[in-house]
């Protein structure tokens, strides 16, 4: 187990843990232990592939991850803020309830699966099935903003929440893959750029931006830039396509009664 770098053991608010070669169970136990001792900012150095970092935590702590964290980062998380200074893998923010995840690199597949609150900001690209089954309830509105590009099935079966895709590196490839919003029946997706009809799922349409969409985008972009350090100067609100489902019960006719 890595040692805490800071010397004062009691009452210390921030600690650094060397995670090099530490198994995920030991690492996550250590994190929980530090939080129980009153630690409010934990830096994990030398992370490589440890799963489940930040999972199920409910305290409003900050966890800084140096290295590539393993799958299901921030799953079921309910409060903390996670900063990842590298790429992250699959399942980031799985069923997350509240808090914030900021990733300075790229993220893999199924990010924000079943997410029902909180925010995820990714500077780079995101993989396949991002925001699948995302949902919202009253003031619990999950938000995903990605600065790069996304793979297929962006917002698949999305039931609520907000997703924004900026394509700041759009010259490297298509902004988004196919099957965008397939099965979507709630929430909203903002894509910066044009999307062809055949990339979209059958349940979504492009709608014009309303004034409140513009306000929301302005505010999210400012927060995204502040958290990730992204240069959003090329971004104009007029460039966004707004995708929403045109039915709230896309499969209403598929069942027998």
């Amino acid at each position: 187990m890595g040692k805490a770098a800071t010397s004062d053991k009691t009452g210390s608010k921030s600690m650094t843990v060397d995670a090099t070669g530490v198994h995920y169970k030991d690492l996550n136990c250590r994190v929980r232990g530090l939080i129980a001792e009153g630690c409010r900012e934990i830096t994990l150095d030398g992370v490589n592939g440890q799963r489940y970092i930040g999972d199920g935590l409910t305290d409003k702590v900050r966890i800084i991850v140096n290295g590539v964290p393993g799958n299901d980062l921030g799953a079921f998380m309910d409060g903390p803020t996670l900063f990842v200074n590298e790429n992250a893998q699959d399942g980031v923010g799985n069923t997350m309830n509240s808090g914030k995840i900021v990733v300075k690199g790229h993220v893999g597949d199924v990010m924000g699966y079943g997410m029902r609150g909180g925010r995820i900001f990714v500077l780079g690209n995101v993989g396949y099935r991002v925001g699948i089954h995302m949902k919202s309830f009253k003031d619990q509105v999950p938000v995903i903003v990605a600065g790069g590009r996304a793979g297929d099935f962006f917002g698949e079966y999305m039931a609520g929440g907000v997703m924004v895709l900026l394509g700041l590196n759009a010259e490297e490839g298509p902004l988004v893959g196919n099957y965008v919003g397939t099965g979507m029946h709630g929430g909203v997706i903002f894509l910066r750029g044009q999307v062809s009809e055949r990339q979209l799922g059958e349940e979504v349409r492009v709608f014009p931006l309303e004034e409140e969409d513009r306000c929301q985008l302005e505010s999210l972009l400012a927060e995204f830039a502040a958290e990730t350090g992204a240069d959003i100067s090329p971004v104009s609100i007029d460039e966004f396509a707004k995708l929403m489902p045109f039915s709230h019960r896309p499969y209403g006719n598929m069942y027998c009664y």
């Binding site: 490589n48 592939g49 597949d109 297929d152």
Partner: protein, 371 residues
């Protein structure tokens, strides 16, 4: 076909559990030698993707002393099987060298069969008498042994390469086979989490024929169709696991039918008809249509990520909607492919480039020149 008691010892009770095999592969395209410890180190990071019911590796360039000979790795359940098999080998092959595969016994690797390797070439008179190519002769011989000799399985049959596999966690399997004593220009590794088929020695990955070796995460739903299709060309699936078809399909499509590798990948992960209809290049559209028509039974359906090794390189390939993870990275002349980026970072902390391959699009790393 019925195998009778061919598998008497190998059958193990297996309950169905969720899947998450781990894959990793590396190649130096300049042909630099990479120690077996490197791929073991990478697989350690993927430990928790497997459950200890199968681990394995393939290394290329590892047998320079016998690089012209087929290196047969064979597992024997008992002395009878070995006697019968060696009789078949003697009848068909000039065996240049035969020895035990060196191992380091460990408590993690149990129920070890007898493991031997043979460096051999087909007997010239056999090839002449039947006017058969050496590779075809070897495929037939491997299929013959695997279907008829009880408790005996040829699990590696390429030249200057070798497959090493067992029931256990990948890193333990690698140490058991003393892989740090080998070096090669490319390696692939696998940690298994068997779901639908038994966790037995022959069912560990990689699956191999000639120089093709495949490690796989996923399920090949089209196994039955693929298997029957392959049987028409003399390939027999004997190892009780879906992945086996992938090795034989690559051999059939690339070696026998001489399809370029990229085209073979288009057969396995064929574009959807709606995407073919939307293809703007008429020649490409015609090719894709023709491949789907001619090779419908070679389409591999279901979720998969594979890394395929062959004498000239490695290929990473996903199913058409990327239902299993696959990440690639490059550093100088090295290409890395894995289920997780962390497994790459473990052996290449600062890659020049990391990217997520798109669904159905192969990532290919080949040797730049001759060795």
């Amino acid at each position: 076909m019925a195998f009778g008691d061919k598998y008497s010892k190998w059958r193990v009770d297996e309950s169905r559990v969720p899947a998450a095999c781990g894959l990793s592969g590396v190649i130096s395209q300049d042909g630099k030698m990479i120690g077996g410890d490197v791929i073991i180190e990478s697989m350690k990071v993927l430990h928790d993707r497997g459950n200890g019911l199968g681990g394995g590796f393939a290394g290329y360039g590892i047998y320079p002393r016998y690089n012209d000979h087929y290196a047969l790795h064979i597992m024997f359940e008992d002395a009878d099987g070995r006697a019968a098999c060696e009789e078949m080998l003697e009848m068909n092959l000039e065996v240049e060298a035969a020895e035990e595969i060196p191992t380091l016994p460990s408590p993690q690797i149990q129920d070890v069969p007898e493991l031997r390797r043979y460096f051999a070439l087909p007997r010239g008179e056999k090839l002449l008498a039947e006017a058969i190519e050496p590779d075809d002769f070897m495929v037939r011989l491997v299929m013959g042994i695997n279907t008829t000799v009880p408790g005996t399985f040829v699990f590696s049959s390429g030249k200057n390469m070798g497959v090493f596999k067992a029931v256990g966690f990948a890193e333990d399997v690698g140490e058991f086979y003393r892989l740090p004593d080998y070096s090669g220009y490319s390696w692939i590794g696998h940690g298994r989490f068997p779901t639908n088929t038994p966790g037995w020695w022959g069912g560990a990955h990689p699956f191999n024929i000639l120089d093709w070796a495949v490690v796989h995460n996923g399920e090949i739903s089209s196994y039955g169709i693929n298997k029957r299709y392959l049987e028409m060309f003399g390939y027999e699936c004997t190892l009780l696991t879906d992945t086996e078809v992938m090795a034989y399909l690559f051999d059939l499509l690339v070696r026998k039918h001489r399809l370029p590798l990229e085209v073979a990948c288009k057969v396995l992960a064929a574009p959807f008809w709606k995407d073919i209809d939307n293809e703007s290049d008429p020649i490409e559209r015609e090719l894709e249509e023709a491949l789907r028509v001619a090779y419908g039974s070679a389409l591999v359906n279901g979720p998969f990520a594979v890394i395929v090794g062959y004498s000239r390189g490695i290929v990473g390939l996903n199913d058409r909607i990327k239902l299993r993870p696959l990440v690639a990275a490059g550093k100088d002349d090295f290409l890395y492919i894995s289920s997780e980026e962390s497994a790459i970072r473990q052996i290449c902390p600062r890659p020049d480039r990391v990217w997520a391959p798109s669904a159905g699009q192969p990532v290919i790393g080949e040797l730049k020149g001759d060795l």
